[in-house]
């Protein structure tokens, strides 16, 4: 019982330390860890500077090489390359969803209220003049969750301020000039991207689609003979899933319904387990579209929380919602378009009916079962 053991030892130590902590509740003024990021956008480029406290960098990179408590210019200068690589890997900038490149120039130093900072000159090059500028900021997120990046963003329409940090690691800034179409397109790209990286959604869909080209019945493999019937089966499932998750995505985004995310995420994992096991021990083979609909309602809530994390524009909420939703559907369609011809082509092979349909489904069910355990019990079991 390691937990119990820890608790007992901890308690013993406590009796000594007892009451001395009593006063900290009085609270003090704070000057926690901040970085100062200023960026000015002009067409497809942006320039600016990023001031990061040496004390914070010391924690991450041990700048004080000799441990004498003094960070000298010599010690700092020797680590400029490492600092640029470290910081550069923790700030991702996108223009309408497409990555921009970040160049960090020769570093200087500057004094802020709580000490000396290294100053990184920034030069950002984007593939297009951004309508929506995205900033993903994860500096020191794992070392100090209270760290914030204080952003000053210069745009043609004026200067804006924002607080970057673990509470909202991904933020989007509409730079004004873009028309409705560009904004729509930006959310559409996000929608596509999020279905592609949302493995639980993809595995759910694939689990339902696998039997569309053939199935085991009475211990015999029966490949589907007509492409049209496989096609309609897929279409029915995809449409049900789409309609269902669009309904709940809209309801949640517009604020009509809200569910605790632990429940939603757990139910999504459970849906993958059920859909995958259904391929091994069929329960509702011909009615998979019903399953797609029922569980699709749950997946919609999952999409809604992703959309909420992206940040919803005031005033053009409907545009963002439709754009994101259409993006999700297009991303899903792309997956189906790759899947169906491939599955059709190999449906009679041993590989498909054994390795993919049975082996693959069992593997998916096992993985999703681990997700389910992680989400229900709030533990971390997988390394990723």
């Amino acid at each position: 019982m390691p937990a119990r053991d820890v608790w007992t030892r901890w308690r013993r130590a406590l009796l000594l330390a007892a009451a001395l902590a009593l006063w900290a509740a009085a609270g003090w003024a704070h000057k926690p860890s901040d970085s100062y990021l200023s960026l000015t956008v002009a067409d497809a480029t942006a320039s600016g500077r990023w001031d990061i406290a040496l004390r914070d960098l010391d924690l991450a990179l041990a700048l004080d090489a000799d441990g004498d408590g003094l960070i000298t210019w010599g010690e700092l200068r020797a680590r400029h390359g490492e600092i640029a690589a470290y910081a550069g890997a923790r700030l991702a900038i996108t223009a309408d969803g497409e990555p921009c490149t970040l160049e960090i120039g020769a570093q200087q130093v500057d004094d802020h209220t709580d000490g000396t900072y290294t100053v990184l000159p920034l030069r950002v090059t984007c593939p297009r003049p951004p309508v929506v500028l995205g900033l993903a900021y994860t500096l020191f997120a794992e070392l100090d969750p209270q760290h914030r990046g204080l952003l000053q963003l210069g745009t043609p329409a004026g200067t804006r301020a924002a607080i970057l940090g673990p509470l909202a690691p991904l933020q989007r800034f509409e730079l004004g000039h873009g028309g409705a179409w560009e904004q729509f397109a930006a959310y559409l790209r996000d929608g596509v991207w999020h279905i592609w990286i949302g493995f639980d959604h993809i595995l759910f869909l694939l689990s339902l689609l696998l039997p569309a080209v053939g199935l085991w019945a009475a211990r015999r493999w029966r490949p589907v003979e007509r492409f049209a019937s496989a096609f309609w089966d897929v279409l029915r499932i995809v449409t049900s899933f789409t309609v269902a998750h669009s309904v709940t995505l809209s309801l949640a985004t517009l604020g009509f319904v809200s569910l605790p995310s632990r429940l939603v995420e757990s139910a999504i994992a459970a849906s993958v387990v059920v859909a995958a096991l259904n391929n091994v021990w069929p329960l509702f083979l011909g009615r998979r579209w019903l399953m797609a609909f029922a569980f699709g309602l749950v997946h919609g809530f999952g999409f809604a929380s992703v959309l909420a994390e992206l940040g919803l524009p005031q005033g053009t909420l409907a545009l963002a919602l439709v754009g994101f939703n259409v993006g999700v559907e297009l991303g899903q369609l792309a997956i189906v378009l790759v899947f169906l011809p491939l599955a059709w082509a190999v449906r009679r092979s041993w590989f498909y009916r054994r390795a993919v349909l049975l082996g693959g489904s069992l593997a998916i069910a096992a993985l999703a079962a681990v997700w389910l355990a992680e989400r229900v019990f709030e533990v971390k079991l997988l390394p990723w």
């Binding site: 509740a25 003024a29 901040d34 003094l70 130093v109 100053v119 709030e378």
Partner: protein, 390 residues
Amino acid sequence: MFRRPQFLLCLCLPTLVAAAPYTPTDDTQVLERVPARSSDPRARELHALRQQLRQDPQNLALAVRLAQRYYDEVAAQGDPRYIGQAQAALQPWLGLSDPPPPVRLLRAILLQFDHRFDEALADLDAVLRAAPDHVEAGAWRTAILMVRADYEGARASCRQLAPFTTPLSAAACAAQVDAATGRAATAAASLRAALRDHPQASAPERLWSLTRLAEIEERRGDAAAAEAAFREAQALGLPDVYLQAAHADFLLDQGRAAEVLVLLQGRGRADVLLLRLALAAKATGDAGAAAHAAELRARFDAARQRGDTSHRKEESRFALAIEGDVPRALALARENWVEQREAADARILLEAALAARDADAAAPVLRWLEATGFESTVLRALAARVRELR
């Protein structure tokens, strides 16, 4: 003749906000001071724990030990960066609805640093439900109830703690509640007796009890007794931000600002101490006054920029005593009183209301003084002046 002002300007520049970036010319130039891993045993211990946890981030015992050490540093240095680092160490467990008890206690402490007192109390109650003899959880619970002026709750909490803690801690716990509810004289006497009867108590425990005693004596208006308690606490030689701040406030009230400059020399990294330095420098006409004020202003600006509102009491004091911005000071003091109701919170609201000649603004404090019988010569005198405004 033109040289001199420029020279002076150069002297204060480094403490001002973001001047222009520069490139140092000398490799040996010292840019920043950090805890010295090679010579400071505290820094070495922290560094070693951090390294171990990096190898084994799921190790609960290690994470708890490191977080506890970070909290010690917050108390010793007033540097809130350690709070975030403690949070990072505990991250794997913080989001759980029912984390292991040691994490739950540390989460409560994190929450109260953020002034989220309700959530902090919920965590502490959960820890105490599982282990009613949990001294530290009980101690934190009492402290939060005191901050919220729930004296009956605090008294009950002290009573529950008493069987499980040392006689000195139990006496100090009861004394602080008694002193807030019209029994300051007996509270001071019993706490002094407990200190005398338990000379073998640990240094941190004596430090805490002596600081409480000094505050009670100060509020009773016995400056000599307060001074003696502060000196005895300082003589223990433990680094402690709260003691330094309380002692500095006492000296400022006694018109001994010059001593504050000596007491807090080089401790300006902690915002609460920088505020006292700025007040003392202004009172004595010290040359550093403008630089201290500018630095403090910049820190408040930075805190506001990051959306932090947990420093209203200090900012109100700053606005009133240094900036002379009465409306702002009053607004901050009123917002602060909603959250925190200790003597210092009452005082800044009374002072700001007086400066603004706005008796209504101070009404909640007057009601609180009436209802609790809180003893404080300074607060009673201020309250009398506020009543005269009407």
